[in-house]
């Protein structure tokens, strides 16, 4: 279990995390530019990153400290949610350094250790270190070995050493276990933070607050009232220069194994005994253990996998997946997946969970929708529905948790139309983060970096969680090789996927337009 300093509990307001050196491996990469540095800069602006903290970039490319700072300023100006002004940036950048080195070079880690000790002395740090692996996964094992070899995995002098590992955390169960073993030989589990940036989103965290911080929703959160659950992660972009990775991963590994299953866990989990890392993760693991993914003959009609062909997205022509630079002309990688799964436990037995994700869909949107059962009888109608009074003619109530964009929650329900007739119309009650709280929520990486700095691993995946999720993904993937398994279909870019995906949800139900 994570040990926390009891004196930091219940302090008024947001306090800065303990001063720390953040070491970023893959410092010249896209993730560092687009997410990590802007997040750290915004934490600095909010006073949540102690001014004494330092950032050390570690990468192969030769670069001076000044050149590195200049490069980071440029990208921060582009990607920060708040403006980069000279005085604040200069204060932030004063703690930025760069260490050149090959990930497999033991000497480079010794140099890094010396640098970190110097920084500790100069900036009055206590040996707190956060290592961030923002590299391709193939570099993880050499970096772990290097850190272990240089004695950096265990900070002395009362400091902490933690490691944040980016997804993809393996590419199947075997590789995830291998990686876990490699991590485990160098770091204790309590030092490891496997990041899924979806869990840092304000609205994702709000799922638990919404469910467990209100008295009226949790009683309706079960098989008795919920007809089915839809979880959609839709992207309008294609592979965007990530063809090498994506063609090996597909939507199964890129989205389902992590983001979709994490969202499902938060929706389906039982209330934890405490809001603490292991208590929360224990409940998520129970959901994953209870999750029945399509297997055997069922996979043919409970899984739809497809690849986008050329089409129009937002009115602009885009190439098909196989025409994307870096993708093989005969690639069999799926870019769309729709699945019917079930959580076989007391709360959810018999309630289908429909999961859907794809690239080159019409809109970028992530949403979780609980679609409620219809009322048993329908009284209020002028008789203009062939469904008569059985209730099929009206829309079911839907509770939609919008993760992005327009972060918020909406509840749709029937209301009487103004006028003399007893006519029912669907209306929507909306909560929007942007308008209710008036300020932009922090970026997911800000949340997660701060949590890692503070030693709170609640929103990070645990070893067993990752391995079970990979086991589920592997089981699904195993059906694809069968003749009786789901074939790889095609859908035009800019559509909501193949017709089979639309039909998967079954009669009497339909996918929500997200």
């Amino acid at each position: 279990m994570t040990q926390r300093n009891p004196f930091t509990d219940r302090l008024d307001g947001d306090a800065a995390a303990a001063p720390c050196t953040v070491v970023i491996f893959g410092a010249s990469g896209d993730l560092t530019s687009r997410k990590l540095v802007p997040a750290l800069f915004n934490l600095h602006l909010d006073g949540l990153l102690d001014p004494a903290s330092a950032i050390v970039g570690f990468a192969r490319r030769e670069m001076s400290n000044d050149a590195f700072r200049g490069q980071l300023r440029e990208v921060a100006a582009k990607h920060s949610r708040r403006p980069v002004e000279s005085d604040t940036w200069d204060r932030f950048a004063s703690g930025i350094e760069y260490e050149v080195g090959d990930f497999a070079d033991a000497a480079a880690y010794r140099r890094l250790a010396e640098r970190l000790e110097r920084i500790d002395r100069e900036r009055g740090l206590r040996g707190h270190r956060l290592f961030y692996l923002a590299t391709p996964p193939s570099s993880y094992v050499p970096i772990l070995a290097g850190l272990g070899g240089a004695g950096l995995s265990h900070a002395g002098g009362g400091g902490f050493a933690r490691i944040v590992i980016e997804k993809p955390y393996g590419r199947d169960l075997d590789s995830a276990r291998t990686l876990n073993r490699a991590v485990g030989t160098v770091f204790e589990e309590s030092q490891v933070y496997r990041i899924d940036h979806y869990l840092g989103k304000e609205t994702v965290q709000n799922i638990l607050v919404f469910r467990l911080g209100n008295g009226i929703f949790e009683p309706l959160w079960n098989r008795r009232y919920v007809d089915h659950v839809q979880i959609t992660v839709a992207e309008s972009i294609g592979v965007e220069g990530r063809a090498g990775y994506y063609d090996q991963a597909g939507v199964l590994r890129d989205m389902l194994q992590n983001h979709l299953l994490q969202l499902l866990c938060l929706v389906a989990m039982e209330p934890p005994v405490r809001f603490e890392a292991d208590a929360v993760r224990d409940e998520k693991v129970k959901v994953l253990r209870a999750l029945r993914m399509p297997a055997g003959a069922a996979a043919a009609h409970e899984v739809v996998r497809a690849q986008y062909a050329a089409g129009l997205v937002g009115g602009a022509p885009v190439p098909g997946y196989r025409e994307e630079p870096g993708v093989a002309g005969d690639s069999g990688t799926e870019t769309f997946l729709a699945i019917r799964a079930e959580v076989e436990n007391w709360r959810w037995a018999g309630v289908p969970f429909f999961l859907r994700s794809g690239k080159r869909l019409p809109r970028r949107a992530t949403e979780i929708a609980l679609v409620y059962r219809r009322p048993p009888l329908l009284f209020f109608r002028d008789g203009d529905t062939p469904a008569g009074r059985r209730g099929e003619g009206i829309e079911p109530n839907v509770l939609a948790l919008r993760i992005q964009p327009d972060e918020g929650i909406s509840l749709s329900f029937g209301s009487k139309l103004p006028g003399q007739k007893m006519q029912v119309e669907d209306v929507r009650m909306d909560f929007l983060y942007a308008t209710s709280f008036g300020s932009d929520p922090p970026e997911a990486y800000e949340h997660l970096l701060l949590d890692a700095l503070e030693g709170d691993s609640t929103l990070f995946a645990r070893r067993d969680e990752v391995e079970i999720a990979w086991g589920l993904a592997d089981g699904l993937r195993a059906t694809w090789g069968d003749d009786s398994g789901p074939p790889l279909l095609s859908y035009p870019a800019g559509s909501w996927g193949p017709a089979e995906g639309t039909a998967l949800i079954g009669p009497g139900r339909r996918w929500r337009r997200v």
């Binding site: 939609a400 942007a434 337009r513």
Partner: protein
């Protein structure tokens, strides 16, 4: 701000300047616009209202009144309006600009605003329309497609856009449009135009004798303004009376133009056939003016709209009386059709009969 509460004055907010369509940019610009909306209206409270995405196809030239209908819709049925217009050759395939249209709330306390996105389509880029509107349609809300020009029904972009819409509202103008293919479940404003006269006949039929006259009618006369061919609304009205009285088969008619005969399919009785006649009323207001049904004995049931369509005069065997009508304009009709979950069963039968009548007249 000097708007009158509940008035029709409009305030517009600029959200995104015109340029080649970029959905992400447009949405970002709109989000920024909403954040700053209150500042832009001098501190007046601004409410963003939206219950659907309304796709309004504006073919060149847009039918008269289209602009007014869309403006009225955004006020009375708040929605994100996607105005799809035709542009000139030479520019980008699709350009777009966005903003909001605001009206003062009924109580005068703040503005109700709805988004309006204008998409201009260059010649030859029509096939991009469905994709553009699909990406700009709001999640979790119904999509309504409004096509007031019957010519739009024949276009590929209409069919593709209609396939994504929850509700399609079209306007059939003539017999030819009635024959045109349309999406299943499409609502037709030509049907809505006859609502007052259908209601008047239904009121008349509360009288048993009047109901018999309607049922046994041998002649159905529909009067309409103008001097051209009968509009689709007239055909649908006649088709409705015929279908309700079980006459769905069309016989060839030797008679003068603007008439055709409808029959009961399996009857040879003397009243099995009814002759439908369409009488133009030149010089008066356009649209439906009245309907009359006559039985073999010369008894008559008639409903006539006054010039402003504010009242209907009903004449029947039981006497004569007037029925005051709720004022409805075309925007009201569109809103009613949007709120109607399904076209009424009577519409399908009336449409089938009206189509047959139209074909017979054109032959």
């Amino acid at each position: 701000m000097s708007l009158a509460a509940g008035g029709t004055e409009r305030v517009t907010l600029a959200g995104s300047a015109g340029g080649p369509l970029d959905v992400e940019r447009l949405e970002r610009d709109l989000a920024s616009m909403w954040k700053a909306a209150s500042d832009r209206t001098g501190g007046t409270a601004v409410s963003r209202a939206c219950s659907s995405t309304l796709i309004a196809l504006f073919p060149p030239p847009a039918p008269p009144g289209t602009e007014e209908i869309v403006a009225a819709l955004s006020r009375r049925h708040p929605c994100r309006v996607l105005r799809v217009e035709r542009g000139d050759a030479g520019g980008p395939p699709l350009t777009a600009s966005a903003g909001a249209v605001c009206h003062l709330r009924g109580d005068g306390q703040g503005l109700i605003c709805t988004e309006e996105i204008r998409i201009v389509v260059a010649p030859g880029a029509e096939e991009r329309i469905p994709s553009a509107v699909r990406s700009l349609s709001l999640g979790g809300l119904p999509v309504v497609l409004l096509a007031l020009d019957p010519a739009a029904l024949a276009t590929r972009e209409f069919a593709a856009t209609a396939a994504d819409a929850h509700c399609v509202v079209v306007e059939s103008a003539s017999a030819r449009d009635l024959v045109a293919e349309r999406p299943a479940g499409a609502r037709d404003l030509a049907w809505s135009h006859g609502a007052a006269l259908r209601r008047a006949l239904a009121v008349a039929a509360d009288d048993r004798t009047a109901a018999q006259v309607l049922e046994q009618s041998v002649r159905i006369e529909v009067q309409y303004g103008g001097d051209g061919a009968p509009p689709a609304a007239a055909l649908l009205l006649a088709g409705w009376v015929a279908a309700v009285s079980g006459r769905t088969a069309i016989g060839r008619d030797e008679a003068p133009p603007r008439a055709a005969t409808v029959r009961r399919p399996a009857s040879t009785g003397s009243a099995s056939a009814a002759r439908c006649e369409f009488h133009p009323r030149p010089g008066g207001p356009s649209g439906l003016r009245g309907i009359a049904a006559f039985d073999e004995g010369g008894r008559r049931v008639q409903a006539t709209l006054d010039a402003g369509a504010h009242a209907a005069a009903i004449e029947g065997p039981a006497g004569t009386w007037r029925m005051t009508l709720r004022p409805r304009d075309r925007a009201d009709e569109v809103i009613e059709e949007i709120h109607r979950h399904l076209p009424p069963p009577a519409f399908a039968a009336a449409l089938a009969c009206a189509r047959a009548l139209g074909r017979s007249l054109e032959a």
